[in-house]
């Protein structure tokens, strides 16, 4: 059964491995000079004391200008990779058996079909897990110097737990769609239509709400000491705003009326009695967030996998 599954899907496996190899090569070519600049120019020290001195700020800016382009773009676009794997590997997995009639061959061998589908799911999901881990390691090495905060979206989305969750859910969605629709193309479309909105909704709507955010306000008008430290640390900042003398949030309209557009210096803030405030998730919550998001995707993937098994068992 293992050999059979490998023989049947080795094309997809080799394709995925080749893609990861190419990506690894690109990461290496782009990442090696970046890492040597990172170590040689003292970027790490600057990042820890973010923007304290003007020379540090310049150093960081030029480092980013020089190296950030490709990795940042990759970090954006590789978000689609789990979906692509779900559509190209997951959706046809069972749909093609129906389309080509080979389910009749497969399920009349002396392997009961429940075992057949369980083993198949296990092998495919294990392979996808391996791919997720490799991708996570490559991107961690590549993106870390540029995005020092693990809570940054570029780093968070490629941490091994959530990335695994995305991959297994995308593939499980594809397999389930194929089992239900029995045709590859509709199954591919369905995978896209289910996984993409889900993934986006979780990242942009649900993720900030996993826990109640913390709000901090500078104690003294015009002094951003507290909020700056929070914003520059590894915290996940959701919102920056100004608080008036009575402690209420300054609306955007009032802010514009009072201060006009553009940057505002601390003296102006002090003059109006305004204090800066920041709403954020502390860096210490990072693993809680990883675990919650992984549980959402992993749990759904497990549910979908069980539905696939149920569907195959009651296939008749």
């Amino acid at each position: 059964m293992i050999w059979f599954t490998w023989r049947q899907h080795r094309g997809e496996a080799v394709g995925l491995a080749a893609m990861l190899a190419v990506l690894g090569g690109i990461a290496l070519i782009s990442g090696l000079p970046m890492h040597s600049a990172y170590d040689g120019d003292g970027i790490a020290a600057c990042q820890q004391a973010n923007g304290v001195t003007e020379s540090c700020r310049q150093l960081l800016d030029s480092f980013r200008d020089k190296f950030a382009g490709l990795p940042a773009q990759a970090a954006g676009q590789l978000n689609l990779l789990p979906l692509v794997v779900g559509v190209l590997v997951g959706a046809p997995l069972l749909a093609r058996e129906y389309e080509q009639g080979t389910w009749q061959l497969a399920w009349t061998q002396a392997v009961p079909r429940t075992r057949w589908v369980v083993v198949k799911l296990a092998i495919v999901l294990a392979a996808v897990t391996a791919a997720a881990i490799v991708l996570s390691l490559v991107l961690r090495w590549w993106l870390r110097p540029l995005f020092p905060s693990a809570f940054s979206v570029e780093r968070f989305n490629y941490a091994a737990p959530v990335l695994w969750g995305y991959f297994v859910l995308a593939v499980a969605t594809g397999i389930l769609a194929g089992a239900l629709l029995k045709r590859s193309l509709p199954a591919m479309v369905a995978t896209l239509a289910v996984f993409l909105p889900l993934r986006l909704a979780v990242e942009f709507w649900l993720r900030p709400r996993y826990m109640t955010p913390v709000t901090a306000v500078d104690p003294v008008p015009g002094s951003g000491a507290v909020t700056q430290q929070i914003s520059q640390g590894d915290n996940w900042v959701l919102d920056n705003y100004l608080v008036g003398p009575s402690g209420q949030r300054l609306s955007d309209g009032d802010e514009f009326q009072l201060l006009g557009g553009g940057t505002v210096d601390e003296a102006t803030l002090a003059q109006h009695g305004l204090r800066e405030a920041v709403t954020y998730h502390p860096a210490s919550r990072y693993w809680d967030f990883q675990i919650i998001e992984t549980a959402i995707f992993g749990g759904l993937a497990l549910t979908f996998a069980l539905l696939v098994i149920w569907r195959i068992r009651h296939w008749s």
């Binding site: 059964m1 050999w3 049947q8 009749q104 009349t108 061998q109 079909r113």
Partner: protein, 290 residues
């Protein structure tokens, strides 16, 4: 007499509101080559899929080789070889890969049998399945089913879509295999002439219902072709299956069960094709919705 290889009682299968098969009561003897004959949409594929466990009955029971069909057990599955309609195979595999798959997924795999058969048919093991000719494709599918060493071999329209030569070779190969093994073969077809040579048991299925089932020899001796004057009352006489009228005379196919025939009628023995056609004519497909 040995236990029936396949037994059904009240077997029925419905797809949504349409019955594909109903009230099917059969007991098929072991060691025969059984032909399942009927027009397209008669329920042949449904019956065969129920037999091999790919479908489960909506009602009634079906027992194959002593255990209920459709039970998920490796032992039951190992006893049945199945070649589905159009002989589906993994097209991207090499022939060799299919054999390895068969070996990996079965309990009694006979690799030597498979290799010898394919060698005799001059089908190279290193050829990609997708590039085989139709006849070779069918032969590979049959080889996979035979190398399982099944007790029951089920073939759904095995020769449909093959050219006459490939059809002949296929049936010869099948008969060769049957002669060597203790094997029961159940095959469906709507091509009649070939069946006469290879089959010894017949089931006629139309509109989802069994019209006729029995040993072909017995069925042939139980029916006569009567030729006589064209009388309108003829069709309602007992035992009459089908009447075709000419200008002056009528041909009637009658189930006499060896008894005497009507006086004044010429009585002739009947051929398999005439017999099957009579039963196919007799019963217009019943609207099977309910």
């Amino acid at each position: 007499m040995s236990a029936p290889v396949l037994e059904t009682s009240g077997l029925g299968r419905r797809y949504r509101s349409v019955w594909a098969l109903r009230d099917c009561d059969l007991a098929l003897p072991a060691g025969r080559v059984i032909a399942l004959v009927g027009p397209n949409g008669a329920g042949k594929t449904t019956f065969l899929r129920l037999t091999v466990g790919l479908l489960r009955p909506t009602e009634g029971e079906i027992t194959v080789l002593g255990s209920p069909a459709g039970r998920e057990s490796a032992d039951s599955l190992a006893d049945i070889g199945f070649v589905a309609q159009d002989h589906p195979l993994y097209k991207r595999f090499l022939v060799r890969d299919l054999l390895r798959t068969g070996a990996a997924l079965n309990l009694r795999w006979d690799q030597a049998l498979a290799e010898n058969r394919l060698e005799a048919l001059e089908i190279p093991l290193d050829q990609r399945v997708g590039t085989l000719s139709g006849g070779q494709h069918a032969q590979v599918a049959l080889t996979l089913a035979l190398a399982k060493r099944p007790k029951l071999l089920v073939l759904d329209e095995p020769v449909a879509g093959l050219d006459p030569l490939a059809r002949l070779t296929f049936l010869q190969a099948l008969m060769g295999a049957v002669a060597e093994e203790e094997l029961t073969v159940l095959l469906s077809s709507h091509i009649l002439p070939e069946l006469e040579r290879v089959c010894d048991y017949l089931i006629v299925l139309t509109g989802g219902r069994v019209q006729l089932a029995g040993e072909i020899d017995e069925l042939l001796s139980a029916h006569r072709l009567l030729i006589g004057p064209s009388e309108p009352t003829m069709a309602s006489a007992p035992g009459v299956i089908h009447v075709s009228r000419g200008d002056r005379q009528a041909n009637a196919i009658v189930r006499t069960d060896g008894g005497p025939v009507l006086a004044g009628w010429e009585s002739r023995p009947i051929g398999l094709e005439e017999l099957v056609l009579a039963y196919l004519h007799r019963t217009p497909p019943i609207p099977s919705t309910r």
